[in-house]
Amino acid sequence: MRTIVKASAAPVSLRARDLRHVPLVVALAVLFVLGTVMKPDTFPTTSNMVTILTLASEIGVVTVGMTFVIIGGGIDLSVGAIMALSSIWATTVATQSYGWAGMAFAAIVVGLACGLVNGLLIAYGGLVPFIVTLASMVAARGLAEQISDRHSQIVTDATFLKLAYNRVLGVPLLVYLFLAVVVAGWLVLNRTTFGRRTFAVGGNREAARLAGIDVRRHTLLLYVISGLCCGIAAIMLTSQANTGSSTHGTLYELDAIAAVVIGGTLLTGGSGSIAGSILGVLVFTTIQDLFILANLQQPIQEIAKGAIIAVVLLIQRWNRRTT
């Protein structure tokens, strides 16, 4: 019986799944061709590929958390602000006295705590995710400014900076950290029962509740995961910038949401993938890299980004309708 079932399994569902990342892969390929043609000396080099991955690291880690939240039917606008607060808290004079481990610990704890507050208000307070995380976005950045008095806080611990500046096989450590977070995120989403519940809660909250799933606890945990990712990203950014700042992570929420959405995750929840989100991030950072190499202005880069979002979404919609 089981073999019969397997034999008839593939056609309907698999094809759509295999094809869903095609538009993004094509976009990425087009960008690489464009880069190679425009800057044959500087673009298609190993060191430039490492640059693109480095550019992708912080936003990539934030995007992994965002993917969980959005598949679970929510949204997190506070990620950039949580990064700022984490980086400030990790670089106060008091925290720095505990050395690099204390600083990293502080960033992680602040991220988790912010995620916990978001999650409690949304899951148990019954408030709308958009509004709650909008409020914490404002409040967290405000708190970061209050603590730092709007001054950058320079990192004095040399070990802490190794994350961004030490290289293994020519690649900065923080890129390895980024890849580790991506792999962990993929495993949790696709290979654990927690991941399966995430799709269920986002796909149909009421059905999940009536099937006996603890929807509120699960929702809470999704925001905690997002907060954790923000803490990790804050460590990476602080190390890279050599400072903690209340302006770190500005507009990261929009970049992360855009990457998740062009990665094929439905904003309504219940469907999506880590791989798609990361492809989305890579598309954006490749554009960014290309524009830096070509010495083009920031505004043109923003225009290109906006156009790509629109085009990819149109292709996805068209794809979905035909399959």
Partner: protein, 494 residues
């Protein structure tokens, strides 16, 4: 009035949907200024008929004559333009707009004019106290209904169709609704009134048309026709499916409901369901039957009483505790409450058993898939493909997947709310067989259905629910369709 020519005549209306002949030659004749009542059991074709009349469905055959002129309604706007307005059960008002804005939505005459005419309309309906700028969301259900009627009148409606307008109203509000209907008909407007309650028909109806199986079985009966004459017309529908035989005697009580109540929905009720027994709740929509199921399951917070499964009270914690205690629910709205429409059949079946496949958090996908596939073949789900998106399956196969969910979980008590809604005739018999099979394995089954033959054919014992109270309890074998219908419509216990 009786001698005047009809305002509306519908003749030989046929409407088919894939696999169903919803209307099979319906006739309806409405006189000017009368309250014409439309009667029929669920599935008799009332809703389809009023959708044809309001332009929401186009009939396949038949003619509609309005005030002597043959008409066609390609869309709802066309029907409105001809002076036919429909007020559906779920009022289609916008809560965030004012009373005046709602009344003139889609044909706004300008602010001052709208306000002025709103005041006139509401005064005509005897509700001058409703102020035009008030937001509709702040009004009571009864006041919203008045606004809906005012909107119908704003189109100069000659014929207003009301679909069970009294279902959501309290007693004194119903009296007020009837007064308004009386005033409308006195001014020459005709009303087509759908209700299940014979007492209401006696109170305000002029004539009755009875539908059964998509056909008109009696037309233009006087409203004071005796119940004993009306009920036989509605019953004895042609039933194409066979109910599985009842076997064996039920075991000990598995589900015990003890003084359970939900304020505003149903009064304290007590009953038990034994192992191997199917108990049916018969009642109209709004009688409290679905609320009873959902409260037992912990999806609504009870206001009194307790629920025991195998003599144990489920821990606190709503539906999760209920599932842990061995309960399962197949909800009324399959798509919005039951299914993950984006996921595969297998993942819908495993939804209630996910924890079982977790090994230190890792999900054993192979075992999950194999066990879901076993349910698919055991239930003869078609096509037998666990990977197929559930949204591509027919209603009957989707319902089987939900049964499979609880079979896989292995529950002690199964609560079924309208298990065959939207299920075609062929799959029905199979689902009946599967439900009976579950009972024979020792599961206690509690069934809610709008279809009385289904409750009588499938259940061993029947509780009749009316207005949030259990008014009778009998062995299914002692009851017939007439008696049940009579009880839920009249409230009289024979």
């Amino acid at each position: 009035m009786r001698t005047s020519s009809p305002l509306l005549t519908m003749r030989g209306i046929v409407k088919t949907f894939p696999g169903v002949r919803a209307l099979d030659g319906v006739d309806l004749e409405v006189l000017p200024g009368e309250v014409h009542c439309l009667l029929g059991q669920n599935g008799a074709g009332k809703s389809t008929l009023i959708k044809v009349l309001s332009g929401a469905h186009r009939p396949d055959e038949g003619e509609i004559v309005l005030a002597g002129e043959p008409v066609r309604f390609p869309n709802p706007t066309a029907a409105t333009r001809h002076g036919i307005a429909t007020i559906y059960q779920e009022l289609d008002l916008v809560d965030g707009l004012s009373v005046a804005e709602n009344i003139f939505l889609g044909h706004e005459p300008g602010r001052r004019e709208a306000r002025h005419r709103t005041e006139q309309l509401l005064a005509r309906l005897g509700h001058a106290e409703i102020s035009p700028p008030t937001l509709v969301g702040r009004l009571s259900p009864a006041a919203k209904q008045v606004v809906s009627i005012a909107r119908a009148l704003s189109y100069d409606a000659r014929l207003i169709v009301m679909d069970e307008p009294s279902a959501a109203l309290a007693h004194d509000e119903v009296a007020n609704l009837f007064r308004i209907i009386g005033e409308l008909t006195a001014s020459g407007v005709s009303v087509v009134f759908i209700t299940h309650r014979l007492d209401e028909i006696r109170q305000i109806g002029d004539r009755i048309t009875v539908l059964k199986d998509g056909r008109t079985v009696a037309r233009g009966l006087p409203a004071d026709t005796a119940t004993t004459k009306i009920v036989p017309l509605m019953t004895g529908r042609s039933v194409d499916h066979v109910f599985p035989p009842r076997r064996g005697t039920p075991g000990k009580a598995v589900l015990r409901v003890d003084g359970l109540a939900l304020a505003g929905h149903f009064e304290p009720i007590s009953f038990e369901v034994r192992a191997g027994e199917i108990v049916g709740l018969a009642g109209l929509v709004g009688s409290g039957r679905s609320e009873i199921l959902e409260t037992i399951y912990g999806a609504r917070r009870r206001t009194a009483g307790r629920v025991l499964v195998d003599d144990v009270r489920p821990a606190r914690g709503g539906t999760r505790a209920a599932v842990a205690a061995g309960m399962g629910l197949a909800p009324e709205e399959r798509k919005s409450q039951g299914l993950l429409m984006l996921e595969s059949v297998a993942r819908n079946i495993s939804l209630a058993s996910l924890g079982r496949y977790s090994r230190y958090g890792w999900h054993d996908r192979r075992r999950e898939h194999a066990e879901a596939a076993e349910q698919i073949s055991a239930l003869d789900l078609r096509p037998p493909d666990p990977h197929r998106p559930i949204r591509t399956l027919s209603g009957g196969n989707q319902q089987k997947a939900i049964l499979g969910r609880w079979l896989l979980r292995g529950c002690r008590v199964l609560l079924l709310d309208e298990p065959t809604r939207g299920v075609d005739v062929g799959a029905r018999s199979e689902i009946y067989g599967q439900i009976r099979g579950l009972a024979e394995e020792g599961v206690a089954v509690l069934l809610v259905s709008s279809e009385i033959p289904e409750v009588l054919g499938l259940a061993d014992r029947v509780l009749v629910v009316r207005d949030g109270r259990v008014i009778a309890e009998h062995d299914a074998a002692e009851l017939d369709e007439h008696r049940v219908l009579d009880m839920i419509m009249e409230g009289s216990v024979l």
